[in-house]
């Protein structure tokens, strides 16, 4: 390498090192100058100002300030070279405390919010310093644009930041010291300082308050021991304790009787504490002293007052408990121990609330009742937060109203009142109120003007309000159409009407005067009851009428019965004569006339059966038009849970009779169905169609000949159904299963009406499933057949048949025997039904058929049919009766007998029926 190159290189390195050293020297000198200025400053404020000045001079800062950066996102100026900035807030866009920063362009950093406008500044030095206590301060320097800070400036600022913080702290400390001195000097409490290192520990400082307290001047006290003030005997315990504490340079609080210079005695509360130097040696003893004579007097007064209060509270039944802020018992009266027995601590003063309560809980768990959560974990603060307190149930059955209040000093007062009797009364009242609310009758209380201020739900509904609150303040009488002209002044019973939902309702109202100048109004809706009563009255009248007619009918039927039997014999004999080919034509001609006259006589006799029955209604009507409003009429009366279905045949049905009777009958049946369903959910179905029996049909009430057409009206329900026993009596007047709600007349009258017009009624019912009542209302016949004499016997063949005839009328039985034998049958006659039944039972296979009368002594035809159905069910039975139109025995219905024939018997038809048996065999 060339020498000059080596030289240049060495020089360059030397220059570099020199520059580095020079830079270090500059920085050191700058720092030294700063520290010199700092140390030369007289006051902490001057030291702060020196730092700001150094930063301006050495770092070329235009301004400098010290920030308290304790707040997140904000910093407060605590010192600055511009007085106006002190106290200002800054909201820097970066974390000033994170690191030292030399900002070259403030505009690139972000928005600086706060009280100081930084526009116009480009450079900023940020030098954070964290104090020993964790407080973070930032020394901040600003330089106006376009200048920036040199790299070394940040080093200087970092080094000065700690000094600035120390100066600030010194300034703060000086201010605090000055404040402290002024506080002691101006304190209302006496302050005395003694030299703990000097013999006898003489006073070295007393403040003006101490002079006022003792009456001595400072110059009289300084250099002396303050025992000259003590008025206690030298061996008094408190004075002894103070003497020992002073000797030990200890601390303590004392209450002493002192004597002023004037000789006046006062109570002095003295607080003593030592002051140590940096080596830890006690250098001084400081005593603060206060005249507490008034407080002592007040405490004595409070003590007396408290004693009186404790005596008073001990006599009450309410528990009172006072706890100090630490939860220790200050006071508890006897009732506290009674309500919350706590074996052991027994709520004695200075015992803890927790230990007392735990003792109580141990006892409580042996009691019959439950220990509630409120008792298990008592929260007195939560109780104190409840302005009205809280009801608590004790396991011994008592109920308490507990209250608590937190006093200003943190103590808490708890009271407990036994509200068991009050709660019982309240419960009784609630039960009564619930009963009133649940009452079906409306109950309301009004003022003297009749304005409602209480009413139950029923009253609101009866008076047409959606809910009780809607009615409050209104006059109840205004809800009626027939308001009494005279104001109700005392006890009153009224019947008033009001329109509701298009219907006029009748209310019975009882008004009773209250003691407190108002009325109790009881409202009962009697609309339905009145309607029921009216309907019952109508039914009773109808029954009386029907019974009267029944009596006549009974008389007529007896006569008709006998005549029919006679006519049976006459007609039958005449028929036999006409059939006898050996008779002369003239004889047979006479016999035919006898038979013809007999037939007309029979028809005449049957009219006797109508005697006593209500006159058959005249007129015709179309069924569908009559029942068209049925659904609209009855649906509103049904409970919401009961459905109604009406199914009427589209076929026109021209009926005979009184349409209103039919309408009323159907309505009655629907109401019966509704009552059968009761309060359960259910369904009612009304079906109407045309019906014609294929053969004579015996019903529960009535017999339907196969020749007539009927409207069949079936009313079925899903109600509780009828037992067999109930079904047997269903048609009897006054028989009811509804108790007082029913009259027992509905079905009986419907049966009578149907009987009167030649209709019938049948009931099918299964317990638990429901009932269907069917009425058969006769249609208007299209054309009436002319009466005709029975046709002479056709060619019937009864040969080989063995037939038993049971009839107590021998003439009738003889005619039947002769006629049947004419056609080849072998006929036996029996006038005692019991004998006939036994004969058949002995050899059922010997009998082709049995013909029995119905009205017989000792045993009716129904009995015969019932017995034979059990003893010889395979033997066909035919029934003949003189009172066919009144026959209502269910045992002789379809399926039980092969045929029912009215007397005088149409022998030809009877023969035909028997012959049909043979042909089937």
């Amino acid at each position: 390498m060339a020498e000059d190159e080596r030289l240049r290189e060495a020089l360059l390195e030397l220059q570099l090192l020199q520059e580095r050293e020079a830079q270090a020297l500059r920085e050191t000198k700058d720092l030294l100058a700063c520290i010199e200025a700092f140390s030369m400053a007289a006051t902490p404020q001057d030291r702060l100002d020196s730092i700001f000045a150094s930063l301006r001079d050495r770092a070329k800062a235009d301004h400098a300030m010290l920030l308290d950066a304790a707040g997140a996102g904000s910093a407060r100026v605590v010192a600055a070279d511009r007085a106006a900035w002190v106290g200002a807030e800054l909201h820097p866009p970066l974390d000033l405390t994170a690191r030292a920063r030399n900002l070259a362009d403030l505009a690139l950093v972000g928005d600086w919010g706060g009280d100081i406008c930084l526009d116009g500044y480009a450079g900023m030095l940020v030098a954070p310093f964290r104090g020993a206590g964790g407080d973070c301060f930032v020394l901040l320097c600003l330089r106006a644009a376009p200048h920036r800070f040199a790299k070394e400036a940040l080093n200087l600022a970092e080094r000065l930041a700690g000094l600035a913080v120390r100066a600030l702290q010194a300034k703060t400390l000086a201010a605090e010291n000055a404040l402290l001195a002024a506080t002691i000097q101006g304190s209302s409490s006496g302050v005395a300082i003694s030299d703990a290192q000097a013999p006898d520990k003489p006073l070295v400082y007393v403040n003006p308050a101490f002079e006022r307290l003792t009456g001595y001047l400072a110059e009289e006290l300084l250099g002396t021991n303050c025992r000259i003030l003590n008025a206690e005997p030298p061996d008094a315990p408190e004075r002894t304790r103070l003497r020992r504490t002073v000797a030990e340079n200890g601390s303590g609080r004392f209450l002493l009787r002192n004597r002023r210079k004037s000789g006046q005695i006062f109570w002095n509360e003295l607080t003593l504490f030592p002051v140590r130097d940096t080596a830890g040696t006690v250098s001084h003893l400081v005593a603060t002293q206060n005249d507490v004579s008034e407080r002592i007097a007040a405490e004595e007064d409070r003590y007396r007052t408290r004693a009186r209060m404790e005596q008073s509270l001990a006599a009450t039944d309410n528990a009172f408990l006072v706890l100090d802020p630490a939860g220790r018992v200050v006071f508890a009266n006897a009732a506290t121990s009674d309500l919350f027995p706590a074996a052991g601590p027994d709520w004695c003063p200075d015992t803890g609330f927790a230990e007392n309560w735990n003792a109580y809980l141990r006892a409580a768990r042996t009691m019959p009742g439950r220990v509630t959560r409120l008792l298990e974990t008592p929260d007195l603060d939560a109780l104190a937060a409840l302005p009205s307190g809280r009801e608590v149930d004790l396991p011994d059955g008592r109920s308490l109203l507990m209250r608590a209040a937190r006093l200003g000093d943190g103590a808490i007062v708890v009271s407990a009142t036994d509200v068991t009797p009050l709660k019982s009364a309240q419960m009784l009242l609630e039960q009564r109120l619930a009963a009133i609310e649940a009452a079906r009758d409306g109950i309301a209380i009004t003022d003297h003007d009749g304005r409602l201020f209480y009413l139950n739900g029923a009253a609101a509904a009866l008076l047409g309000f959606a809910k009780p609150p809607d009615a409050l303040g209104r006059k109840w009488m205004g809800r009626y159409v027939d308001v009494p002209e005279v104001r109700v002044a005392g006890e009153a019973e009224l019947t008033l009407h009001r329109d509701q939902n298009g219907k006029t309702c009748t209310h019975e109202i009882t008004a009773s005067r209250l003691d407190g100048n108002g009325f109790v109004i009881v409202i009962r809706d009697v609309t339905e009851r009145l309607e029921t009563e009216a309907r019952e009255e109508d039914l009773k009248l109808a029954l009386i009428r029907a019974q009267r007619q029944e009596a006549v009918a009974q008389l007529a039927s007896g006569i008709a019965h006998d005549f029919n039997n006679l006519l049976s014999a006459i007609n039958g004999s005449a028929t036999l004569i006409t059939m006898d080919p050996t008779r002369h034509d003239a004889v047979r001609s006479h016999a035919e006339r006898i038979a013809s006259a007999g037939t007309r006589a029979a028809r005449l006799v049957n009219r006797l059966l109508d005697l006593g029955a209500p006159a058959p209604a005249r007129g015709t009507f179309e069924l569908r038009s009559v029942l068209s409003d049925l659904e609209a009429l009855v649906a509103p009366t049904l409970p919401s849970q009961v459905g109604l279905e009406v199914d009427i045949t589209p076929q026109p049905l021209l009926m005979r009779g009184d349409s209103s009777e039919l309408h009323q009958a159907v309505v009655n049946l629907v109401f019966n169905a509704r009552d059968a369903i009761g309060r359960e959910a259910g369904h009612i179905r009304v079906q109407v169609d045309a019906f014609q029996p294929e053969e004579p049909m015996l019903l529960l009430s009535g017999l339907l000949p196969e020749t007539d057409r009927y409207a069949r009206i079936r009313v079925g329900d899903t109600g509780k159904g009828m037992t067999e026993d109930v079904l047997l009596h269903a048609m009897e007047p006054y028989f009811t299963t509804k108790g007082r709600e029913g009259t027992g007349l509905g079905l009986a009258i419907v049966g009578m009406q149907l009987g009167a017009i030649g209709g019938g009624l049948d009931i099918a019912s299964t317990p638990g499933t429901g009932t269907t009542v069917t009425i058969y209302w006769p249609c208007q016949p299209e054309a009436r057949m002319a009466d005709a004499a029975p046709a002479p016997g056709a060619c019937h063949d009864l040969s080989g048949m063995t037939i038993l005839v049971i009839d107590d009328e021998p003439e009738v039985a003889d005619v039947l025997q002769s006629y049947l034998e004419t056609f080849g049958a072998e006929v036996a006659v029996c006038d005692m039904p019991q004998d006939g039944v036994e004969a058949v039972a002995e050899g059922p296979q010997d009998w082709s058929a049995v013909i029995t009368d119905y009205d017989m002594p000792g045993m009716t035809g129904g009995d015969v049919v019932e017995r034979l159905s059990k003893l010889a069910p395979e033997v066909p039975v035919f029934l003949v009766t003189a009172l066919a139109r009144r026959l209502s025995d269910p045992r002789v219905g379809p399926g039980r007998v092969r045929g029912v024939f009215a007397k005088p018997v149409d022998l030809d038809k009877l023969c035909g029926a028997l012959s049909a048996l043979r042909s089937r065999d």
């Binding site: 390498m1 000059d4 190159e5 290189e9 020089l11 690139l108 920036r148």
Partner: protein
């Protein structure tokens, strides 16, 4: 702070090597020969790492010797702050550099602050404007050290890259706030001769006349023809003279130390038959140019001496050196290409095995004592982290 320097033949291998070390890299300076695919490296480091990438003439050298493909200078320094930004010139390199500096500070989360150091790379030709743009943001007292991207044959194949893109024209700025101490040196390895003259006519980086004579004639006279090819270009030709002029640069006196002048070098890049010479640095009319001369031995040993100077200037003990980043003029490297192992040895001897990465550039930027940040040619710089 922990520094590692790693090399590999492929970007994938280098990425794997970088990521195999514990801890996320905070800063990576990536340098490679211009034929390398850097895509995998860009993808691998796209996790917030500040990356400065630039091509280096014929690769780099590290403490392990020549690295002809890719090398990485990796800093892991969780307490420090690092940011990089790449901007195209877009016709205004000063503004591009300014924007890149602001963006790099924002990436480092140190917006508006003065960094400890700027490490930069730019494509050749606009370095003075780039320095002005950076200083407009952070002032003139922050050291800016770097080198211009280079290719292998001065054909303009150089490029810059960060984790997002590659640019063939632009500037890439890295701002560094390391927790470790930083020291640096910026020197050349040439001696002045007795020949000197004033530039009487110049246009940017082209000198037309020295002392009112064609610059090429003057240069030929001063070097005795050693700095020019043979034959010289005809009147209309332009001929690269980079290799020949490596040992014959022109110096501009920029300071004086104890009566000994210090020079900033300009490397003649091309000779024109018209008599003009193109340099890799701007020269103003009126400036005095001194003919400088160097030698293989001087350039070989210079790298270690610059590293030593950088360490001593910062007062950093050898055992405290965490790593070094060097810029070595590409032209010089071409002059001592056969002696690169000696270059490595000289640096290793000084740094006692501490990792280092030296990039070969077509222009070097650094601070000159008392003169601020400058762009020069045939310079060597070294940054010591300790």
């Amino acid at each position: 702070m922990k520094i590692t320097v790693q090399s590999a033949a492929t970007a994938n291998a280098l990425a794997e090597a970088i990521l195999s070390e514990p801890g996320r890299p905070d800063f990576v300076s990536l340098h490679c020969a211009c034929g390398c695919d850097v895509g995998p490296l860009q993808a691998a480091l796209m996790d917030g790492t500040a990356v400065l990438g630039a091509t280096s003439c014929l690769g780099t050298v590290t403490q392990d010797g020549a690295a002809p493909a890719l090398s990485a200078f990796v800093i892991r320094d969780p307490g420090g702050s690092y940011g990089t930004a790449l901007r195209p010139f877009s016709g205004d390199p000063t503004q591009a550099a300014r924007q890149a500096t602001i963006a790099a500070l924002e990436q480092a989360d140190r917006a508006g602050e003065k960094p400890e150091l700027i490490w930069m790379a730019a494509t050749p030709g606009q370095e003075e404007a780039v320095l002005a743009g950076i200083e407009a943001v952070i002032g003139t007292d922050v050291p800016i050290i770097g080198g211009s991207a280079a290719d292998d044959t001065v054909q303009g194949d150089w490029f810059l890259f960060d984790t997002n893109r590659k640019l063939t024209e632009g500037v890439l700025v890295a701002v560094m706030f390391p927790t470790a101490r930083v020291s640096f040196a910026y020197q050349n390895g040439y001696a002045p001769t007795a020949h000197a003259g004033r530039v009487t006519r110049a246009e940017g980086r082209r000198i037309l006349e020295i002392d009112d004579r064609p610059a090429l004639d003057v240069y030929r006279d001063w070097t005795g023809g050693a700095g020019l090819p043979d034959p010289v270009p005809s009147e209309t030709d332009t001929q690269p003279i980079l290799a020949q002029s490596t040992f014959w640069p022109l110096g501009r006196e920029i300071s004086d130390t104890g009566g000994v002048p210090q020079y900033l070098l300009a490397h003649p890049a091309a000779a024109h038959g018209s008599g003009a010479i193109d340099l890799f640095a701007n020269v103003e009319e009126g400036e005095v140019l001194t003919q400088m001369c160097g030698s293989v031995e001087g350039l070989t040993a210079r790298a270690g001496r610059v590293a030593a100077l950088a360490r001593r200037a910062g007062g950093i003990a050898t055992e405290d050196v965490a790593g070094a980043l060097m810029v070595y003029c590409g032209g010089c490297m071409l002059g001592v290409r056969d002696h690169l192992e000696d270059v490595v040895a000289s640096v290793n001897a000084e740094l006692q095995g501490a990792p280092f990465l030296a990039v070969f550039t077509f222009g070097e930027q650094g601070p000159i004592l008392g003169m601020g940040n400058r762009h020069g040619n045939l310079m060597i710089s070294c940054i010591i982290f300790g």
